[in-house]
Amino acid sequence: MSEVKNFMYLNRRAPYGTIYAWESLEVVLIGAAFDQKVSLMFVDDGVYQLVKGSDTSTSDMKNFMPTYRTLGDYGVRHMYVDQASLAARGLTADDLIQVEWEDWETEEEIDNIVEVVDADSVAKLMSESDVVFSF
């Protein structure tokens, strides 16, 4: 499989309450082995997946927030967040975790691959993707 495609994982659901967010992450982690160009997009309640300071200690749920912070190591190059979805929920970029990325071969480093984008960019990025996994 020499072909490299632009993969987008579209996350539309809150992190807990349903299993979509966690099982989406599982695809991202497994998919890393296929060396595609991978970005994640967070829209609607999906933006809650990246809100920092989540605490699941009283809900009997595994807190998988730390997994998002490791996504740079799984070939994820961009984590886009829809500005309008954030605003509608009273959130800003300051409420979101930061995710570092480093290219082990070139030692290129990016402090934070989480990026808030406007609606036009969401549409453009989606249309530029070869594959959109919708969760």
């Binding site: 499989m1 072909e3 495609k5 993969f7 299993i19 979509y20 099982e23 599982e26 695809v27 497994i30 998919g31 082995a33 296929f34 595609q36 594959v131 959109v132 996994f133 919708s134 969760f135």
Partner: protein, 130 residues
């Protein structure tokens, strides 16, 4: 066109499996190739042969099996999602010490890599879900 199909919801509760079935059937009848149908989330519940709907209702599980028999379709059930939801084939029963299996004919349990591979190999990934 070469298609990959993803089914994310269980049968009867949600329209996703019905829509996926009708889409897949129509695509095959139009001469398109379906590389794989991948069942994920509660979609794995489409693969239990113990399903017993009322006689005057459609049998969603058997319908998939029959379509697969007619067109040599590859019906793949995600192993991680299947284990959580009690979908078991011979291999899983042996590995996890279960006393029964319930997978329907023509379905097979495999890993998420099968979904990623299908997305790479196909012209389009079509997702049916909520």
């Amino acid at each position: 066109m070469k298609l990959a199909i993803q089914v994310n919801e269980g049968p009867y509760q949600h329209q996703a499996s019905d829509s996926a079935y009708h889409f897949t059937k129509a695509a095959l009848e139009k001469g398109h190739e379906v590389f794989r149908v991948f069942f994920y989330h509660d979609g794995v519940l489409n693969s239990t042969r113990l399903t017993t709907p009322p006689q005057d209702d459609r049998h969603i599980v058997n319908r998939w099996t029959e379509l697969a028999e007619q067109h040599d379709l590859d019906l793949v059930v995600c192993v991680a999602a299947a284990q959580r939801r009690g979908i078991v084939d011979d291999g899983e029963a042996e590995r996890n010490g279960k006393d029964a299996t319930n997978i329907a004919p023509k379905f097979r349990i495999s890993g998420l890599g099968q979904l990623v591979e299908a997305a790479i190999q196909s012209d389009r990934l079509v997702v049916f879900g909520d």
